[in-house]
Symmetry: C2
Subunit: 238 residues, 2 copies
Amino acid sequence: MGPMAQRKPNDRPAIPRPAARRLSLYLRELSSRLESGEQTVSSKSLGRSLGLTDAQVRKDLALFGQFGHPGRGYAIAELIDSLRKIMGRDRAWRVCVVGAGNIGRALVSYDRFRREGFEIVAVFDGDGSLSGREVGGIPVRAMSDLAAVVAAERINLGIIAVPREGAQQVADALVAAGVRGILNFAPRRIEVREGIGIVSVDFTVALEQLAFQVAFGRDDADRSDGDHPPDAEAPMRG
Amino acid sequence: MGPMAQRKPNDRPAIPRPAARRLSLYLRELSSRLESGEQTVSSKSLGRSLGLTDAQVRKDLALFGQFGHPGRGYAIAELIDSLRKIMGRDRAWRVCVVGAGNIGRALVSYDRFRREGFEIVAVFDGDGSLSGREVGGIPVRAMSDLAAVVAAERINLGIIAVPREGAQQVADALVAAGVRGILNFAPRRIEVREGIGIVSVDFTVALEQLAFQVAFGRDDADRSDGDHPPDAEAPMRG
DNA sequence: CTCTGTGAAAACATTCACAGCG
DNA sequence: CGCTGTGAATGTTTTCACAGAG
């Protein structure tokens, strides 16, 4: 069908995708500096820590408003607040993990999630024999409870930690149950309908990128894990 | 005029960074198709599975030579072979994991690594009380053994699965011991000297990207985990 | 026909460079 | 001054569109 592109009506400024990726890094570095007792930071200093140019940092931050104070730099606490709001980190997120294997269990025990405002409130596994067992203090439930628990616990994000074969099916179940986004650890591309968020992490792809760097001889400093590619369309709206 | 393009001496064609990321995805999809018994694939079909345009797939593959057969598509087995060679996947990699916490243990038990040719042959942990314990059939060793074991076992890649604070130190020790690349799971940027590969995976950054998509309202289909940014420089050489 | 490989055009992202604020 | 915010310039990646192979 009509393969014609048509801008939808309500576009906001549109965030370059790479910039969206860097926002998380700014937040991580800023928090670390706040802890160290620093009060302000310049784009140059921030860029230095992150391997970016000062201009890049300023451009990224300017996408969302005027946070800087000429001559002084950025007030760290203030900037953290703003970024958190922008990134949806001002609310608490309720998360479930599907799959109580090695990866699922490691994620449930990963304290940093809770500390950062992502609370894991339920764990599911297709293997009935695990039901009732506890992982990190949370009882493992059967897949058949998924819809009910997601609703009852008002879970809005799901993490897929099952083998490749079951992953898409789990994704469909999560979306049907009402989650708004999925973090996928299974080594395959997951399709979700428009409006549902999806981010994937593939350990093997990450190791493979590393092998490629080593085998090929790379030239640049620090590179990301990689996974699913974009899908040919505008960046982000708001 | 000028200074005459100062291309550094030994450059090969130069791989666009995003293309390097996609290579892993091609390999993953192609292997899956080979298993299903398919023999050839077109750029269009491959792109469809991966959320890319056919032109993109062709451009990427053409970077390394002429693999396609006009009118027919690409021979899957042949293309897999070529890609594996290009990506350094034709050799076996010997890997160690530093950190026997939740994440370290999950990685050691992640079978796919071995199946894909990344063999984990040693595990280290700074907590002496763990030494001697086994994880996934591999004894946990003290950090003080790191240099000797890396040399003796001819380990060429290291995985960092320790808390943020110790991560850079572990990286330095790994590099000093002779690994050629590092996969970092600690939530901070790791610096390594030129010539050493580095890829990072940060679970919190991944969840945060997801929260951002949901909070902001994204428009595209499937997006990557994110982590450390490039460092402003040419793509890759060979 | 189908499908690749590839220049040329378009879109996108980064860096430069500077006006202007505190 | 130092440092931000930002247009304009540059560099990079994607898409288009088509010649040519089987």
